[in-house]
Symmetry: C2
Subunit: 205 residues, 2 copies
DNA sequence: AATTGTTGTTGTCTTTCAGTAAGCATATGA
DNA sequence: TCATATGCTTACTGAAAGACAACAACAATT
């Protein structure tokens, strides 16, 4: 549908946008492609708009938008703090190992929610269908009974189910091989699981 | 850290950006807040930049960026076509039920990959820890043995493991209660699973 | 043979827009 | 008390940037 030249232009727009967070002006496009005239860029943009791959807002500077960006939900950036059951001494230690960017609608959390992510290590939650290597997204909020939580228990963080029995909260593994973590000295809930992201093709049983 | 007025300004910037896909000019900010001067907007922006919540590119029009947007990976929009094992007559029938926007690094697919998503219905893949209600992300590519695939088999689409035995490909459920889908009349692979998104807090066992 | 789309050119015009100077009142912390 | 941050005002400048007119060569259709 797009010609080769138009494809090149679109690619430049995308690259410029991801690098700079804004759109190039027509003269910047002109310069990049070595046009002698600014009008060349303009007419190319017109062609791209006609084919629907960009939208222009007339009269405004750098006012090009990708249509898909417009009807996209708001994106939030969930920091990945590290691995669970493998450290994470305290909440403040943010060993920021990258970010997970996803739209709020798919995550299903309010816009104001404080969220973070942890990579799961171990199979203590396998019966809740949480595998080793999965990335769990947690929200900072009060847990309700039955929630899966990341908890700091006696110095170490684990992912377990939060259960209340006779008014006594404790942690339950979802694997018969693991014992419940009954009455504890200290129990600090660090986050409540709200979503899970599994990645990778080599999903061998 | 931010004053109330600065918070209002930031909120306006975000709202304007999500609505229009670009940043407001200083004069548009002025107009929105009813300032008599454009300089008021400028100095507010300067304050916001000093506090690190926005970045300005000097000399360029509408050149405000949110820092988190800059070090963000590229976002791709994965269309959700519908439910699996519940229809989807053909590949072209895109009953677009929203979109899942996520950064490519977290998805783990190349930028050029053709992807789509399906909501899982049923528990035939429960032993591969794919639950009913999960959202599987699939890529349009050739399956390799052991991959989990969405396949059109005799008119209906299902999510199964792709197995080759004696040069004969067939589909295997990951649940003892379900039979293998052995030699078939037609076997069209619609996508290979590359990721999975589980959502919702009520993750009761 | 005629029309439309692509890919350009030279020029010109006008608006948008960022940036600065200079000033003023009110808070807030050192 | 003095400096600094906040939250504005009026007035001006000049570059940045969009838009248009007119033209031209070369496809690809119709």
């Amino acid at each position: 549908m797009l010609t080769e030249r138009q494809q090149q232009l679109l690619e430049f727009l995308k690259e410029y946008h991801t690098n700079n967070g804004l759109m190039p002006s027509t003269r910047e496009i002109q310069e990049f492609f070595g046009f002698a005239s600014q009008t060349a860029a303009v007419s190319h943009l017109r062609a791209l708009e006609k084919k629907g791959v960009i939208q222009k807002v007339p009269g405004k500077a750098r006012a090009l938008v990708f249509p898909e960006q417009l009807d996209r939900e708001e994106i939030i950036d969930v920091p990945i703090y590290g691995q669970i059951a493998a450290g994470m001494a305290s909440e403040t230690e943010q060993s920021n190992e990258g970010c997970l960017s996803i739209d709020i609608a798919s995550l299903g959390v309010p816009r104001s929610a404080k969220t973070f992510a942890l990579k799961v290590r171990g199979d203590s939650m396998i019966d809740a269908h949480i595998m080793s290597g999965d990335c769990v997204i947690l929200e900072l909020k009060e847990p309700r009974r039955g929630d899966i939580v990341a908890a700091l228990i006696d110095g170490e963080t684990t992912l377990k189910r939060y259960v209340i029995n006779d008014g006594m909260p404790y942690l339950q593994a979802e694997n018969e091989l693991y014992p419940d973590l009954v009455p504890v000295r200290e129990l600090v809930i660090q986050g409540v699981m709200v979503a899970l992201l599994r990645r990778g093709e080599g999903m061998v049983a």
